[in-house]
Amino acid sequence: MIVEGYRYSGTLRDKADVVVVGTGAGGGTLAAYLSDRGWDVVMVEKGGFYRAEDFTQREEHAMGLFNGRRGLDSTVDNAVMLTYAEAVGGCTVHYWGDSFRTPEDRLEKWRTEFGLDWMTPEELDPHWTAIEEELGIHITEERLFNENNRLVRQGCEALGIEGSAVPTARVDCIGCGWTQFGCAYNRKSSQLITTIPRVSRQGGRIYSDARVERILIENGRAVGVEGSLIDRETQRPRGRFRVDAEHVVLAGGAIGTAELLLRNVPEPIVGQRFYVNPHFFVFADFGREIDNVTGIPCAYSVHGFRKVRWGPNGQYLGGGYTMLCSHQSPGLTAAILPEAGAAHAERMRKYRRLGSLMSVIDEEHPGRVYLDGDVRRTSFTLRGVDVLKAVDYMKNAARIFLAAGAQEVWIPDIYGTVVRSEAEIEDRIRARSVAPNAQLCAGSHFVGTAPLGADPDNSFAGPTGESHRIRGLYVADGAAVPTSVSVDPSLTIMGVARWIAAGMHERSGRAGA
């Protein structure tokens, strides 16, 4: 049953085996696993419950409907725009469906640096396989490649750069191109249309418009949550709710989970590692209309630069990022493109001629989620080797577009940097372009704010997902992932959440595998 909290005043009370805070990649996956095995599940979601018919594909509507802080959130110095969803289905309502298994080198890092011995491909394989089957994850078919994707592939092939079609979570996609505004046709396999309905039909209760404010703790054990039912129009409280449960699972995303912990269990590690995978955009003017509107935003990704190349003396040589083909809606494109006045309008007149790439910088230096008085804030500063990675990305993105026939490559910085030939790349693309507020940088792959790990001084939860200090309190979302994944973290989060759920079920002694 789905309970739309905004319809209720007074106090709603419920009781369950487990209460899951958040309904996205981690929460949906974990809740469905346990519900399938007979657990009585309650899910609580701060955002609203929306169906395909609610997704109009109008960007201003989508931003207001289900993006955190109406799509206007940023780090405290405005240097990184933060994109995340608050709705039943969580981040998967707006994600692109990119579904990469965690690279082996990253699992190895988490085993060695965080003592997460279980994080092996073999251990995670059955979980990933089950998720891939359930969500219909498959390699993007050629028909969903728009011209931007094809041109990027062509550029990579000409230069010998490694890239490939992405594994994507969708069934019978029609290729309308606006997946990030919520799928209007129920073809993207978000949690909203996969795990959530199943939990609901199996007797679970999903409360939308319900903001958790307190984690209830008795004698060192989490025993439930309580909070406010939110009026959708005003975002003001109109009622209360309380859920008592044997287990409390936090899965409200790396920002939401960190905020809730900072208000309830403010251990020093919480919020101290906030990875965002900085997204810098590079545009290319092909001098003719190209289709970068239909298809799916990212049918093709460039991963030849994922690993950092270090020199013999430890100097940075290149890499440390992936690139995703991206298309931008008019409003976001206008916000990103450089210049002002007539020069900006001139760029916007070329909207239909533009190809676009987006970086996923695998940053070494994370930011922070913290409370400033009563206000949740975030900070992130690109620094050190991460600056070099961003510059290297822009140069290689320019090379790819030029090799694909672009007339001009635009770095959307305050300097209006334009590159027209390979010879101009080294001279024109410089670190000044990625200084804070030199261009619009976005972040969306949030992880690391309440990480798993063996060492209680360096992690919030143990390898099982359970808090080191509060029994019965689990973290099973991006917050639990120790560091940047180096690729879209969605499938990593789902795999980790399902593994945690399997452990909870096994330790509970209940029947059924």
């Binding site: 049953m1 789905i2 739309e4 319809r7 419950f49 169906r51 018919e53 109009t56 594909q57 109008r58 960007e59 201003e60 207001g64 802080r69 109406r70 206007l72 959130d73 940023s74 405290v76 110095d77 405005n78 240097a79 069934v171 019978d172 309308c176 191109g177 606006w178 209007a184 046709y185 129920n186 249309i193 959530i196 309905p197 609901s200 039909r201 975002q235 209309e289 509107v293 008019p330 409003g331 976001l332 206008a334 493109l337 002002a340 007539a342 900006h344 309008a345 916007m348 007149r349 909207y351 239909r352 400033d372 008085g373 206000v375 804030r377 900070s379 305050i414 804070p436 507020n437 030199a438």
Partner: protein
């Protein structure tokens, strides 16, 4: 209120700017009649703040088929809905933009400058060596451009044909959510 203005406080020169922002007069409808003249019932911006957004839109949106008044009214609605800390941060930015013209040797307020002079003035914020001014400029331009180009009237300029649900009838795959109450 000061606690909420981290956007300013956390940038170079921010503390001084913040102090200045708090001293700025909120203005009144008589000084800033634009909202009243546009027939806009403001939801959170003051008449002065509305006038600054409108003036910025006039300067930034050259040859763009959208009304600066519509852009300013949309910004007002969004800020009212999103609330703090974004609402407070943006209001502080608007106050600084209006009154720090003195930094460039200009004796008139931002809203009193010609659109061309406003654009040149905003250019000094864009290229400033102070992070605060760059951040303020980027915040203002982003919200103005984003808001402007979500208006349907800009489609002829961009060639954007509009969302699919407006143009095609495509069946929605059914989903059984169980009971919804």
């Amino acid at each position: 209120m000061l606690d909420r203005r981290g956007f300013l406080r956390n940038t170079a020169g921010g503390a001084a700017a913040l102090a200045a922002a708090t001293l700025i007069s909120p203005g009144c409808a008589a000084e800033y009649p634009q909202a009243e003249m546009d027939g806009v019932a403001l939801q959170t911006l003051t008449p002065k703040q509305y006038a600054v957004v409108r003036a910025a839109a006039e300067a930034l949106l050259v040859d763009v088929p959208v009304s600066p008044a519509e852009v300013a009214a949309s910004v007002d609605r969004e800020l009212a809905l999103v609330g703090d800390p974004i609402e407070g941060d943006m209001k502080a930015v608007l106050g600084l933009i209006e009154h720090l013209t003195i930094l460039g040797g200009r004796l008139r307020r931002f809203t009193a400058l010609s659109p061309e002079a406003r654009l040149r003035y905003l250019g000094t914020w864009r290229e400033s060596r102070f992070k605060l001014r760059r951040a303020a400029f980027m915040a203002l331009r982003a919200v103005v451009y984003y808001t402007a180009y979500t208006h349907d009237s800009t489609r002829p300029l961009t060639g954007f044909e509009g969302p699919w649900p407006e143009r095609y009838r495509i069946p929605v795959y059914p989903v059984d959510f169980g009971e919804v109450v």
